[in-house]
């Protein structure tokens, strides 16, 4: 494989694609698949076959008129399943099986647009992303190819400029040049810590020794984040190319992709990408005629959040319990099997080819002073448009939530207007951003200054109906479960913090509870070895800082302002609405409801177990809770 061969593949692919009259791209990201996109793909295939259309499922030497492909995540999960028609560039949303015949008939055969399947923007139907606010405000750089190409087609990746930067890295650039480009680009780790990528590589490059490793960290354990899975599924070759460039920079000849066990689709797509790349000669031995070798294997995790931490991940690749080790030595000095190892996050590695292609200055043109480039986020929670997004560092929360996300919604899905409460960012290590921070430019430094972090990029929007104590408890439960047990303060401290939060939620807390919680939080931060323990109290500290009055309402008034804490609720029957049918009394497992047809029914608060059975059973909405 050399430059000419890559160019040949590019020319061939583009010529063939130009011969196709059109191309149907059905989104096969996780969200769309769950909403039935694979059935839609099958339906296209069946209808095109039944109608005798000339079509291909992969681009062949003599291409058919129509090309049917499955793409990676196209981003707008809220509107899934998505179907894009090229080259007309039409985006159909919420496509159902029964719509397929119409799309084939009208769009493919007659060149018309099926207007009812377009996204209905405020100004009217939008033909494609250019008319949809969700896409308009994004800058898709790392995700530029995600959802646009067939992730399983190596030739298409090459035709989009793929593997050219890996070739340059091996054949034209010196290792120190690559490290320098990375340093000048300002690229920082997208997995959480934000460590400068170039500096990490340089440290490993300077280590002596023949054997070095590159590990791609795809153990995206942060609950509420799915960007890395989209990148691995949507552009697996970009991840491989990033690893190759890293290998060229440090002189590694072996790579491992560590993928979380919950992502079987990512495993299978990366597996195919590796096999294809080897067969094509872009991965394996004597790369680009340089005599250098680099190969990659996949390791599936087995379910442990702490393995997202570098040293714990290394331990588990070595077949041991995933427990962190003290640093230094850093993995760049002594990592996998004691050899110099660099570990980069999926998104970081998938961005590396882009940095080389654009050049460091062009890449760094976007972003803020200390945080260059763009960042992907998974936008979820109480927001109208959930999905995978990518924005430049420096974008504000208001832009993301109100404009891209289309605003906050209530629990029942209706527009919540101004009822934004907070955004949780950075998962179990992160914190909350409040209304006051809506206009703060998001980057590594600003987030850190308010007690949050970029983390891997999960953005969970919360409305006024969310109880912040419950959110803190949710994360504490998570870290308590995932604490590996090595450091006592983390193992026992998180358990005690959880118990204190339970006291608050269940009405047992007193004036000493909150100060004790804070004291314990600082102890856990100080006494833990790894990132998991050090940051475990963050969700508690952050909610305490910004929503202290909500904690105090639980403790002092035994009241949950959001009405979510069951134990603090009082159930009551509204005599006006009650039809005296007695159903609630029969359903009550604690026999706390007494009364009869004549006098009506009432709930005895002392024996009520707050199970919700009365409220669920009442057909007249006469049971209320507050």
């Amino acid at each position: 494989m050399n430059k000419q061969a890559l160019e040949q593949i590019t020319t061939d692919f583009n010529c063939r694609l130009a011969l196709c009259r059109d191309r149907v791209l059905v989104c096969a990201g996780t969200g769309c698949v769950a909403n039935g996109s694979l059935k839609i793909y099958e339906k296209f295939r069946r209808i095109m076959a039944e109608w005798g259309l000339s079509f291909d499922l992969e681009l062949k030497q003599d291409p058919a008129e129509h090309l049917l492909s499955a793409s990676g995540c196209q981003g707008f999960c809220q509107m899934s399943p998505l179907v894009t028609i090229q080259p007309a560039n039409i985006l159909y949303v919420k496509v159902q099986e029964e719509d397929v015949a119409e799309i084939v008939n009208r769009t493919l055969l007659k060149g018309e647009i099926v207007e009812r399947l377009l996204y209905q923007a405020a100004e009217g139907p939008a033909r494609n992303g250019e008319g949809i606010p969700f896409y308009q405000l994004q800058q898709r750089r790392s995700l530029a190819l995600c959802g646009v190409i067939d992730p399983l087609d190596l030739n298409e990746y090459i035709a989009a400029g793929g593997y050219e930067q890996a070739r340059r890295a091996f054949a034209e650039l010196r290792p120190e040049e690559i490290c320098e480009i990375m340093e000048r680009s300002g690229l920082r780790g997208r997995g959480g810590g934000g460590f400068p990528t170039g500096r990490k590589w340089r440290m490993a490059a300077q280590q002596p020794g023949e054997i070095k490793y590159v590990i791609c960290n795809g153990d995206e354990g942060d609950p509420g984040a799915f960007m890395d899975s989209c990148v691995m599924e949507g552009t697996p070759h970009a991840v491989l190319e990033g690893m190759m460039i890293a290998a060229a920079a440090i002189g590694a000849n072996h790579g491992v992709i560590y993928v979380r066990t919950e992502y079987p689709l990512a495993v299978s797509r990366l597996g195919k990408a590796i096999r294809d790349a080897r067969a094509q000669g872009v991965l394996g031995e004597n790369l680009f005629g340089t005599g250098k070798d680099f190969d990659i294997e996949i390791m599936e995790g087995a379910g442990a959040f702490v393995c997202g931490e570098e040293t714990a991940l290394i331990a588990s690749v070595e077949g041991k319990r995933g427990m962190p080790m003290p640093k230094p030595p850093y993995p760049a000095q002594s990592g996998l099997f004691g050899k110099p190892t660099i570990i980069n996050n999926v998104e970081t590695l998938a961005t590396v080819p882009l940095v080389l292609r654009l050049g460091p200055e062009e890449y760094a043109r976007v972003g803020t002073a200390g945080s260059k480039g763009t960042k992907t986020f998974s936008l979820t929670g109480h927001v109208a448009n959930t999905g995978l997004i990518e924005v430049p560092f420096g974008a504000t929360l208001r832009q993301i939530v109100a404009e891209i996300g289309g605003g906050v919604i209530n629990d029942d899905g209706s527009n919540a207007g101004d009822r934004f409460k907070a955004v949780q960012i950075g998962g179990p290590s992160g914190g909350c951003l409040t209304r006051e921070m809506l206009d703060m430019p998001l980057d590594y430094e600003n987030l850190k200054s308010v007690g949050a972090m970029v983390g891997s990029g999960g953005l969970v929007v919360m409305n006024q109906q969310t109880c912040m104590v419950q959110i803190a408890r949710f994360f504490m439960q998570f870290t308590q479960n995932e604490s590996c047990g090595k450091c006592v303060v983390c193992r026992e401290g998180t358990r005690q913090m959880l118990a204190l939060l339970d006291d608050i939620i269940e009405g047992r807390a007193d004036r000493a509870t909150i100060p004790l919680l804070e004291e314990l939080a600082h102890a856990v931060t100080m006494g833990s070895l790894c990132g998991l323990g050090k940051t475990a109290p963050n969700p508690v500290l952050s909610t305490l800082k910004y929503f202290r009055e909500e904690y105090e309402a639980h403790v002092q008034d035994k009241r949950c302002p959001a009405g979510r804490c069951q134990a603090l609720l009082n159930y009551a029957i509204d005599p006006e609405l009650c039809k005296r049918c007695g159903l609630c009394a029969r359903k009550c497992p604690a026999a706390a409801i007494s009364g009869d047809k004549e006098h009506g029914y009432a709930i005895d608060q002392s024996s009520c177990i707050k199970c919700n059975a009365c409220l669920d059973s009442c057909k007249f909405n006469a049971v209320g809770k507050n």
């Binding site: 698949v33 509420g224 066990t261 319990r321 629990d411």
Partner: protein, 163 residues
Amino acid sequence: MENSKFDAVCAILDAYRHDPNKLIPILREIQDQYGYLPEDLMIFVSTALGVSPASVYGVATFFSHFTLEPKGRHIVKVCDGTACHVRRSEEIARALRQELGLQDGRDTTGDMMFTLETVACLGACSLAPAVVADGVVHGSMTPSAVRALIADIRNKEEAESHE
């Protein structure tokens, strides 16, 4: 025929060339094959790899993917990631426990038909709250929708048993 139980393990160990560094993938494959990690197989693996039974047991109990007990025929996972949580996944989990009659912290039904698991995040956050039944993701779940889902699986089982 007693030996046949170990044949599959031997094949797996051979495929990984008895490399102790590959303990996790080896255990994964054994679990895929047998449904769980029986104690005698873990001891067998430890002898074959030349590591202590304690190390194998340590790894098997460290990672949540591994189970030392047989699971039900149908695995239902409730996602309790942040996005699902704020969209009230706990109500989904409660409805499932009730529907399956699971009490006292048990996760598998007495007839070995269902195992209920809670997972931290499935990556299907835009479909919150999500449930995975036998590998198929179901999004935007409600308590009544999960009850229907269980009823559906039960009906299919019943139809099969009548065949």
